[in-house]
Every structure is written in structure tokens, then in C-alpha cells.
Assembly symmetry: C2
Homo-oligomer: 524 residues x 2
């Protein structure tokens, strides 16, 4: 029996005096956490939430957010974490598609929701995830905790536990249905690699609505560790918190790691407590991980590759492979996404779901007890994605002879130029090796001669130490690293940062749009 | 999807050149292991084994034994490991009750089986687990490997994968039905505590028919580690193998640890490679663990408590609690059985399945995805053991305020001697078959070698018809009916009747008390 609430009771049993949650003056010991959750669940039940009902949350990271997951599980509901970076129509789509009955919002989003309320007829109750009900909210979180504790609804195994929406980068969001089993087992599968220890202290700074951070949330549940929260990413705040709370564990996306390890005040902080950083959600440029290894010598880095549909981890690159020493027996794997985690099987399949020969590129597919139940109300897309019993990730990749997976690109992000396949990630990695390049995105744009043309958008670093490179400089740089057909045929410099999704992925759709608006093709 | 064969393919993918198995000159790399298993499965299929069919094994530890598990899983069968210490009638019961179609035996047991063959009409094929067919065997293991590789039958999740027999309180062994999920997930649950590392080298010296060693077998599967084998326990052979093969991991029962750490030649061997020893299956006398900690300073000790019905681990005592330093923050837990492992919930319940107050004694109950499907063909005992959704272990225990479990009694009246479960009732039933025995009680008493020793207290009948039997007579009587490890190692005659409770039950607590009063343990 896989059960989030059973795991909560276990943590309470074995670490009753240890804190589950710490935020400012608030702290919640594990020992009394089940009782608090049972009361919050009782409060949700009074709002009419019953087994299977969807309860959404639109909020910045907080201790309440962590409680929210367990209260919804205890009442037997299904949690729906909403991306905090959505535009109004997207929020409406998520809440409507999920038929969420109740929505929890914090101060950052109360006004947004008030403005959208008329478009959300099926939403029965808005409540503030805090101690005071904001305008538009019927009640608030602390008021729920006044209810009598209810009995655990006892959901487990293949019961639906969470609806996590994907997309943002590729069109209409799909609701990924994840079971109690999937949401628990993935952290167990990753545990031998992640080397979590009982009582670990974890800082949640990556957005909690994203499934990547969920892995750490469950990791702390299994280890009866302590969760700390920051509502937003700001490098000096992150570093100050690590130092003050002796944080041991974090999940960060590469963009965050990049900003921390390049922060000019880095040397002012004692970050030696930080034992492990899990990263993922987008490819890590080699230049960034090199800087991270040198700037944080006490920290082990774990790369995870996965997707929401796998709840989320499929492969991991263990710390020993994070070496830039060419003489190391672990050298040469740093740009890979690592190996299948225990309990997950990975295969590279062709378009007929047959394995391709080792070393060749095909679609990355996975199976294991962590795979989604399906997409909500999308039986055809579910059937296609789970065809032949395999989760089809939509990513192109290849396995080397040691089972290390290299993602060559998101299948939909591949550029086909003059009949040659160009994988954006490869070109971006090369551009990032140039010392003056801070960010870049490589996209396909329409081209009369080549069908699509490899186009780069580059943000230069602002240190002004040297004369900025010209387009010709960067093209020459690329040409020295990769085949001619992969070298950008055009390049634009951009002053403002690249647009990012909630998961820290560059929003290429947005970057492509102006180039494609006069064509009849959809490569978004 | 939990699948033993999928886990095998994963190990082959990520450690193709590493050896899965090493024994003498034989070694089997992970990379070609799935193909070998597919051929062995093809050979089993030619013998008529199909999905769900039981295939038994009666053999000493070997690399073939490890292959056996996966070949049976691949063909879709159910493996039935038979205890090598059983008497003839017990072997007949296990093979008959399981309706095993095929039996694999090695040289140590070929003759035994030939002698029993007439009592085993449903057994279709006996094959030798080796390279040459012994008399009575239709074929041998290596001949199976000549078959064409067959496609994986694809059993997974709740499909029955193994039948492990336990002793019965009524004298009759019960077949514990364990699913693919249970047999895989337990090692994953234990992994964060066990701290297994990729490529670990594990020596199997505890008998592989026992579920305790299975945990290490799966651990090596998940870590793509290397398995080594010894057919029997002999301290100097164990130490020589550890030194020669740089063994890192072992499961041992306390009796084995005791004999290794007290061996006079201990200092002759370099055992510094031995990183971790998992022990369990019987209580560890504090004197033994003290000696072990001092004799093996490089080794971490992990205690596991569980039972076959939990596949098998329920709680673990982590290495840091193996301290004899009273000033350590981890002091005082060494005589406990540790805490619930991740993904397992433990509760102490009263006779109405209600939790008792913390610190009070009740029945140790557990739930989790590792619990058995049930007992084969015993719906009533299954319903009773799994009542209210909890696995009722039959053990009495209490939880302290930090969730550490102490086993105070075994409700099922079981003695654990040298890692083997001996059910008192079974031995008592055999003693009562002797015409001169009027009353008897079989209890566990402390023993330096065995942890506990099977001790019988006998009241002879007073009819004086014949010369009263001697201790040797009664031991010989027992030996003709039950396995040697169940036969009383000591016996006292008593003139007065055994003490009875108001309900007419023999008061074993009273009989045990004089034996245990000078020990530091509480198995009252």
C-alpha cells in the first residue's frame, strides 16, 4: 500500500520532536503534524470537499503549501498545483479543465483570482492560504485548522492523488494524473542515488507547483526531515538562508545555480552545509556546472532528467560523474542525463516502438511504477503517450554503451535545415562556452533556401570586461566546435533576459512567434 | 510497473561489463545476463513451465540459484525456494502444497529427492542445478541455456512471483504468496538506510532459500552489483572470501556474526573492505554486537526486523544506533529493532485492532506495498493475518517515543535459533506423539552460539508400563519427524505438572523466567 498519509504518520512516529516545517517564527513538529493535517482536512470537508474532488492552489512557496498537499490527501481529494507564472486565460483553463471545487490563493494572487472569478463558474470556494481572509476569499487556511480532526480517507496505490499540468512551452496544457503510488515511489527510486539522510534540512526555492520540487518534498517526508521555504528566488536571500539554517539539500534549476555561483557576494556566505543540490528541468550548460563545482566544493550535484508524466525522475547523473578531471574513471559523462534510476526501465524506441541499436537516436521511453495514470479527459493523447506500455517522453535521445542517456533535443524543438536534423541543445551548449554569452536560445526560423534556418538569440553578459563579440565572432566560435550545418545562419542580440517558463525552461514558443507569424506553419 | 525482469534489463543497460555473478572460474556479466536468462526461460518453457506455474529449488547457495530466480520470473513462473534443512516429510509437504511442476536440485539433495520421488506424483521434472544431470534428473541447468531465448512473459505488479514457506504454529508450513511488487519494493524501501552503492560486491553466505538473503539479492540487482556465493557457512572460508574478493556487503544472522568475530584466526584476515553487514532474523545479544563493533571497526551494522509475510523488512536499526558509547546522542537504542523503513507503516494494536497507547505492549502490525498477497490455499488464515488491512506479525512489541520498536514476545510462540524460525507447537506436537510423554513445553532459552536454543520441558506419563525414555530417546524420536534445527538441543524432565493459566494454557513465561533472568534481554 502506497499512501501519502501513511508516510506522514510514519514520519510523525519516528521523528516526533523534529520540525517538519520552518518558516519565520512558525514551526511545525512532525509529531503533531498528522493531527493538524486531520483538522485541515476536516475543514476542507466542511467546504464540501470529498474523495476525488479537485482542490487547486495558486501561491508562492510556503509552509502552508506543504500542509496543503497532505490536507488534500487526507480528505481524499486531488491536489492541483497551479503555475504562478500563467496569464489569466491559462489560469482559467487549468481551473476549468480540472473542475477544481476549491482554490487556495495567497496574497500574491488574490487580486488576480478576484478578477477572473466570473470566468470560473464551477469554482465553489476561494480561500486564502494564510491567517487572514483576503478580499474575494470565503475563509482562510488557519480557520480550517479549527475543525475537528477527521479520519483519514485512506486513499492509496492507484487512487488519483495529484493533477499536475504540463506545457506552457508547447501549447495547450494537459492535466497529468498521478497516483498515490507514483507520487511516493519516485522519491524512493531516487533515494539510493540522492543519498538523503534522516533529518535532512531542505530549502524549497524552486516553485512548489512544479513536480521537480515535489521530489524533494517527498524526500523530506521519507527522511522525516525539515522543510524551509522561500517565496521567490533571489541569490543573496538563498545564500543567507543556507548559511543561517545550515541547509543541506536543495532542488534548483540550472538558471538558479548559474545565478548563485556567479553572484558577486558568493564569497561572503558560508555555504559549507549544502551537501547536495539536485538539478534538472532543463539541460545544464557545461560551463555552468564547471563553475558550480568550483564555487561550491562541499556540494554534491545530482542531475535528474524526467518529466511530469514520470512523477518526474527517469534518469539521474550521480555526483561522481560530475567531474571535469579528464583522468577520472568517471570522466566524460557530465553532459549526459545519467542512467535509469532503480525501478525505472529506459529504452530508445523508433517510430514503431522498436528499440534502436545502441548509440543511435530515437525517442526516449520509460516504464515503471512512477508513470502517470494518463492525461485528464484526453484518452487519445493518453493512448498515444502510453502506447505499447511505454511512456513516450517526446524527447530525442541516445544511450551510450554504459547506459548513459544523452538528450539530443526535445523532439518538437528539433530544427530540420536542408534535410539535416539540428538539435538546438547542442548548438546552445557551444554558444554558452563563449565567455561573453550569458543566455542563449537556438530556434528554427523560416528560410527560403533551407526550409528552416538555425537562428540564435543571444544575451551577452554585462560585466563589460572586454569588447563584446560580434555576430561574426560567435559564428566563428561555433564553427570551431560543431559541423557547419549546425552553425547559426543568423543571430540576434537581445538586451533583456530570455522569457522563462515556471520550470525555468526558455519559452521558445515566444521567441519563435515573430518569425513564424506570416507563415502557415506551426512549429510552436 | 514493478517487474523483476525489467530491473534485470536496467542493470544490464547501465553496468554491461560489470559482473552480476562470480563463483570460482564462472562469471556472468550483467550485459549478457538478460540473454542468458531468456534462454534458460526458454528451456523451462520446453519443460512445460508456463505463466503462474510453480518451480521449486532445493540447493545450496550458488550462482545458478541467482539465475534460477530470474529464469523463473522471465518465463512467468513462480519460484518456490525450499529450506535445505527440512526432513523428508516436510519437503514432500512444501512440494505438494505448492503443486510444483519442476524441481531444481543440486548434488547435495539429488539423492534425497530420488528417495522421495514416489511421494511426489505431481512433480513432473527434476533437473540438476548444474552442468551434469545427476541420477534421478531428467536434464540439467546448462542444457536449458541451449534453448532459444524466449520473450519475457511480462509479469509485474501484483502478479504472484514467489512462494516462500514459513513454519506453521500448527505444524503445517504456510506458503506465503509474494508479488513482483513486494519482492522488488522492499529493497527499495530499505535502500536509503542500507546505503547501497552502484557496483557493490555482496557475498551470499546466509541460505538463499530464506527471504532475508533475498533482500541483498535484489539490492545487488538495483545497484547492478556483483554477487558472490558460498554454499555453506564456515568462518575462515567467509573471511578468506571477504579478503580475496574485497567483499563490501553481506547478510548474516547473529550466530554467523558471533562465530566470525570470535574466530581465533580473525586477525589473520584483512576485512577492511566489508562496509556493511545487514543482520536480523533473530535477536542480537548485546555482547555479540559489542564484540562485532570492536572486531570489525570498518563495518557498519544494520539490523532488520521483519518476516516472510512482509518480504521481509518492516523496521531497521541504522548504523549510528549501533553504539555502546553511553554519551552518544544515538545511545540506548541498540536492543531495539529500529524504526519503520520508508514506505512501511507500523502500529501496535490491541486484540480489537485499535492502537495501544505509546509505550504499551500490543501486537506489531504493519502495512505497505511489501506485504504478501496471502497464504496459498488458506483463505481463513489469510483473512485473520491481514485483518483490517494490517499485517498481523504475531509478535508482541512496543514503540518508544521516538518510534523505535522493541519486540517483547512472539505471540506465535516462535523460537529463532541460528536464524531459523522454530514454532514451539510443531516441536511439541512431535514430542506428544511419543507414547511416554504426558505434557511438554518447548521454549527458547539463551544460547551463546545460536542466540536462542530450542529447549524442551517434558512431563512423562505415570503409567509405568515401560522403561521411561531418556533424553537421547526423545531427541531421536524428534529427529525422525522434523528438521534437525527444530530438534531440542536440551531437555529437562519435570515431575510436577506444567503451570497452567486459568484458561488452561501452559504459562510459558513462568517456564522461561529462570533461563532468562541473568541476561540483558527481554524475550519474556
Amino acid at each position: 500500500m502506497f499512501s501519502l498519509t501513511a508516510a506522514l504518520r510514519r514520519a510523525a512516529q519516528l521523528n516526533p520532536r523534529g520540525d517538519a516545517l520552518r518558516q519565520g517564527a512558525r514551526h511545525q513538529p512532525w509529531g503533531s503534524f498528522p493531527d493538524r493535517v486531520a483538522r485541515l482536512a476536516g475543514g476542507l470537508a466542511q467546504l464540501g470537499v470529498g474523495p476525488g474532488d479537485r482542490v487547486a492552489v495558486l501561491a508562492l512557496n510556503s509552509a502552508y503549501y506543504y500542509e496543503f498537499y497532505f490536507a488534500v490527501a487526507w480528505v481524499g481529494g486531488v491536489f492541483v498545483p497551479v503555475n504562478t507564472r500563467l496569464a489569466g486565460p491559462e489560469i482559467v483553463h487549468w481551473l476549468t479543465d480540472s473542475e477544481s471545487k476549491v482554490l487556495c490563493v495567497d496574497a500574491a494572487f488574490a487580486e488576480t483570482i478576484e478578477g477572473l472569478r466570473s470566468e470560473l463558474p464551477s469554482l465553489e470556494t476561494v480561500l486564502t492560504l494564510g491567517e487572514v481572509a483576503l478580499p474575494g476569499s470565503a475563509t482562510h487556511w488557519e480557520a480550517l485548522a479549527q475543525a475537528n480532526p477527521m479520519e483519514d480517507a485512506g486513499r492509496s496505490n492507484n487512487d488519483l492523488a495529484g493533477l499536475f499540468y504540463t506545457g506552457g512551452t508547447t501549447g495547450r496544457s494537459k492535466g497529468v494524473m498521478l497516483s498515490q503510488q507514483a507520487l511516493l515511489v519516485n522519491a524512493m527510486q531516487a533515494a539510493p542515488i540522492l543519498q538523503l539522510q534522516p533529518g535532512d534540512r531542505c530549502l524549497h526555492v524552486a516553485p512548489m507547483f512544479h513536480i521537480a520540487d515535489w521530489c524533494m518534498a517527498v524526500g523530506m517526508l521519507l527522511m522525516a526531515g525539515t522543510n524551509y521555504f522561500l517565496p521567490a528566488f533571489e541569490p543573496t536571500e538563498v545564500m543567507a538562508t543556507i548559511e543561517r539554517e545550515k541547509i543541506q539539500r536543495m532542488l534548483m534549476v540550472p538558471t538558479m545555480i548559474n545565478r548563485v555561483v556567479h553572484d558577486p557576494t558568493l564569497a561572503n556566505y558560508d555555504l559549507s552545509s549544502l551537501e547536495g543540490v539536485l538539478y534538472g528541468a532543463s539541460p545544464m550548460p557545461e560551463a555552468v556546472i564547471r563553475q558550480a563545482l568550483s564555487a561550491l566544493p562541499h556540494t554534491r550535484f545530482y542531475q535528474a532528467y524526467g518529466q511530469t508524466e514520470a512523477a518526474p525522475i527517469i534518469t539521474m547523473l550521480a555526483p561522481e560523474y560530475h567531474t571535469v578531471d579528464p583522468a577520472s574513471p568517471f570522466a566524460g559523462k557530465l553532459t549526459s542525463a545519467g542512467q535509469a534510476i532503480p525501478g525505472v526501465e529506459v529504452a530508445i524506441l523508433d517510430e514503431h516502438d522498436r528499440p534502436v541499436p545502441r548509440g543511435e537516436v530515437g525517442e526516449v521511453c520509460a516504464r515503471g511504477p512512477n508513470v502517470m495514470l494518463g492525461y485528464r479527459n484526453l484518452p487519445e493523447q493518453t493512448a498515444k503517450t502510453l502506447a505499447s506500455g511505454w511512456l513516450h517522453t517526446g524527447d530525442g535521445g541516445r544511450l551510450d554503451e554504459d547506459g548513459f542517456l544523452t538528450i539530443v533535443d526535445r523532439v518538437k524543438d528539433m530544427i530540420i535545415s536542408g534535410g539535416e536534423n539540428v538539435y538546438s541543445a547542442e548548438v546552445e551548449n557551444v554558444l554558452m562556452l563563449h565567455p561573453a554569452v550569458d543566455q542563449c536560445a537556438v530556434i528554427g526560423v523560416p528560410d527560403a533556401d533551407w526550409g528552416e534556418r538555425v537562428h540564435a538569440i543571444v544575451v551577452l553578459s554585462q560585466d563589460g570586461a572586454a569588447a563584446p563579440p560580434t555576430e561574426a565572432d560567435l559564428v566563428a566560435h561555433c564553427r570551431s566546435h560543431i559541423a557547419g550545418f549546425k552553425v547559426p545562419r543568423s543571430l540576434t542580440f537581445r538586451r533583456e533576459p530570455l522569457p522563462l517558463s515556471g520550470a525555468g525552461k526558455i519559452l521558445k514558443t515566444e521567441l519563435r512567434a515573430p518569425f513564424w507569424k506570416d507563415t502557415d506553419r506551426n512549429v510552436s
